[in-house]
Symmetry: C2
Subunit: 341 residues, 2 copies
DNA sequence: GTGAAAGCGCTAACAA
DNA sequence: TTGTTAGCGCTTTCAC
C-alpha cells in the first residue's frame, strides 16, 4: 500500500492524504479522521526512502563504533547505551544505523555516510584523548554527540559520560583508607579518554596521600580476560607485590581473580580487588563482604539522554551545547576547554 | 556532488555516468576510466535514498534485538555478533539497521519495517523455543536468518548457533566425572531456546548417569548478577547444598561467586563452579587450576557467516536452507524439524 | 556506445 | 480546504 493507492481508494489527492497524515493544520478534521482510519486499516506506512528523498532528511542516526582491528573486542557496554538511544529514536521516528569502523578507514567512513546522505547525525563512541573525529565532523558539518569526552580539544561539542575520574579517585581513596599502599591499576588503553581519566583519578588519590605511583603497578591494554590474568601473574611474582588491585573492567577482572587464586592468594584477605567499569562496581576488599552495584541502568539512561541531545541539535542546529547531571556516576555536559590532564 | 553535477562536469549524460559507475558492459573502457576517476576525485557517492527508491532495494539489513521490557538487560554477546555481521554488510554495500524491540510491539515493528521499505532482510536474535516470528516473517515474505534456533517449529529456516546442548552436556559430564552428584544449574529464561537447549544438555548428562534431577537445584531467570547471587544464597542455605554449580552466564557467575564467598565456602575446593556462555568457558573446579577459554571470536565468526547466509538468501530467494559447521562450539545449519525436546 | 525521458513514492510550492 | 505540478537523485527502458 502506497500513497497513490491510498489516495485513489479514498478519492482524494495524494497531497491531501499526505497532509492529513502529517498533521498539517489546513486539512479538515473530518477528512483527517477518514484518512487516518483508512491508513491504519490498510497498514499504510510511508516509504522511508521516498520520504527522505523528498525531504532531504535521512531520518536516521548513525552510531559508529571504532575497533582497532578486525579481531578487536567490542566493548559490551555499547549494547546497553545503544538500547537506550534506540528507544528515543523510534519514539521520534528515527532509525538507528550501526557501523563498526576499523580505525584505518574511519575518515572515509564518515565522509561516506555523509556523501551517501545516510544519516542526519552521528553518535561517537570510544573517544580518544585527542580525537581527530571532532575536527572532521565539524568540517563536514555533521551534527554529533560524543559518548565519552575528548580531553585534548578546544572545540565546543556535546558529550555525555560517566565520571570516570571521580569514580577511580574514590575507589583508590577507599583502598588507601583501608591501609593499602601498593595499589595496582589494571587499566584499558590509555589513549582512550575513559581509561586516561580513570588513571587521573587514581593518581589524584595517590598524590593526595603523598604516595608516588609505581609504574610497575600500572598497566594499560585492551581489557580482555587474558590481559587481566597475565598482568596480575606478573605483578604477583615481583618482590613486593601489590596488596590491592583496581581493575577497569569486569572482564579483565575475571583474569585477575584467576591469577590471584592460582598464585595461592585469597581475594579479600591477602589481596583486595575493586572492579569498576561503566556497568558495575565490585568491591571485594579488606575481608569485608563483597559489595556489588549495577550501573547498567545508568548507561541506558545515558543513551537515552545522548540521543535526545543529538536530535535536539539536529532540529535546531544553532543550539548551544548543554550541561546537566544525570546521576552521581554520570556527568553530562559540554566543554570548550580540555578536561584535566 | 550528485550524479547530475558529475555528469555535467564530464559533459556526459547521467545515464552514461551511472552505467560507467555500475560496471555496465556497454560503456566504453575509456569513458569508464574517465568517469571513475572524476567520481573518485570529487568524492562522489550515490545518494542511498535515491538509489533504493529507484531500484526498490533498501540495501539495508535489520537486526532486531528483543527485550522483555524497557528495563531489561541487553545480552552483551550481541555486540560481538553484530560486529561480525556488520563487516560482511559493508563489504557488500549494505547498511545495518538496529532495532531494540519490546516484546509487546514486536509484530508491528516487523510489519512496520517491511511496509516502510526499510530493510531487505532481518536477523533474528534471542529466539524462543516456540517463536511466533518465524511464521510472521514467512507470511510477510521477508528474508531472515535466526541467530539461534527455534525448537518447536516445522518451518524451514536458516539459522546459526553455538551447540548449547553439547556444551552443557559436556560440562555436566565433567562435573560428574569429578564425582559430583548434586550439581546445580543456574540458567537463563528457559522460554528462550538457548537456555532450553542448555537445560537439555544438562539433563542428558545427568540421566546418562542415572541421576534424577532435583528441581530445587535448577533455576531459570534473567541472567543478572543479582539473580546469580540470590539463587546461590538460597541453594547454599538448604540442608544438602550443591557441591557444584553450572552457570549459564558470566555475569550471573559474578553473583554466584559472591554468594559462595560470603557463605564461607571456597570456590574450587568446597564448591566447583563452571561458567559457560557464548563468550567464554570458565572451569573452576576440583581444586584444579581454573581454566579459561574465550569464544568471542567464534561469536564474531558466527555473525559473519550469518550475514553471508542472509545476503545470499536475498540475492537468490529460491535458495534452499544450508547446513555447515563452523567450529566445535558452533553449529550452523538448517532445519525442517524441531530440535530435540 | 550514448542520450532522452519516464518513473520510483513521497513532499512542498503554488493555484484554485 | 483541496488539487496540480514540479521536483528529490537515482535507474532503466527505449530510441538513436
Amino acid at each position: 500500500m502506497n500513497l497513490k493507492e491510498l489516495s485513489e481508494h479514498l478519492g482524494l489527492s495524494q497531497t491531501t492524504v499526505s497532509r492529513a497524515l502529517n498533521d498539517y493544520p489546513e486539512v479538515s478534521e473530518s477528512t483527517r479522521q477518514r484518512v487516518k482510519q483508512a491508513a491504519a486499516k490498510g497498514n499504510y506506512r510511508p516509504n522511508m526512502r521516498a520520504m527522505s528523498l523528498a525531504t532531504g532528511k535521512a531520518m536516521t542516526i548513525g552510531h559508529v563504533i571504532p575497533v582497532e582491528s578486525s579481531s578487536d573486542v567490542v566493548n559490551p557496554i555499547f549494547a546497553e547505551f545503544v538500547a537506550g538511544a534506540s528507544r528515543t529514536y523510534s519514539q521520534r521516528g528515527y532509525e538507528l544505523m550501526l557501523t563498526i569502523a576499523e580505525a584505518k578507514n574511519e575518515e572515509s567512513i564518515y565522509r561516506g555516510i555523509v556523501a551517501k546522505r545516510a544519516v542526519d547525525g552521528v553518535m561517537l563512541h570510544s573517544p580518544k584523548r585527542d580525537d581527530p573525529r571532532l575536527a572532521l565532523l565539524d568540517e563536514i558539518g555533521l551534527p554529533f554527540v560524543v559518548h565519552g569526552r575528548v580531553c585534548d580539544s578546544n572545540q565546543q561539542y556535546n558529550w555525555i559520560d560517566m565520571d570516570n575520574q571521580a569514580a577511580f579517585q574514590q575507589a583508590t581513596q577507599l583502598l588507601l583508607d583501608l591501609g593499602h599502599h601498593r595499589i595496582a591499576l589494571i587499566n584499558g588503553q590509555e589513549t582512550l579518554s575513559f581509561a586516561w581519566l580513570r588513571r587521573l583519578g587514581y593518581l589524584e588519590a595517590l598524590h593526595a596521600s603523598n604516595i608516588t605511583e609505581d609504574p610497575e603497578l600500572m598497566t594499560s591494554a585492551d581489557l580482555t580476560e587474558t590481559y587481566g590474568y597475565q598482568t596480575t601473574q606478573k605483578m604477583l611474582s615481583r618482590k613486593s607485590p601489590p596488596t590491592a588491585i583496581l581493575v577497569s573492567s569486569y572482564i579483565a577482572a575475571l583474569g585477575v581473580r584467576r591469577a590471584i587464586g592460582q598464585a595461592g592468594y585469597r581475594i579479600g584477605k591477602d589481596i583486595s580487588v575493586i572492579t569498576h567499569d561503566d556497568e558495575l562496581s565490585y568491591f571485594d576488599n579488606g575481608g569485608a563482604v563483597p559489595q556489588f552495584t549495577s550501573t547498567r541502568s545508568s548507561v541506558r539512561e545515558a543513551g537515552i539522554r545522548a540521543a535526545e541531545m543529538l536530535l535536539q541539535q539536529i532540529d535546531k542546529p544553532s543550539l548551544a551545547a548543554q550541561t546537566q547531571m544525570v546521576e552521581t556516576k554520570l556527568t553530562l555536559g559540554s566543554s570548550t576547554g580540555p578536561c584535566p590532564g
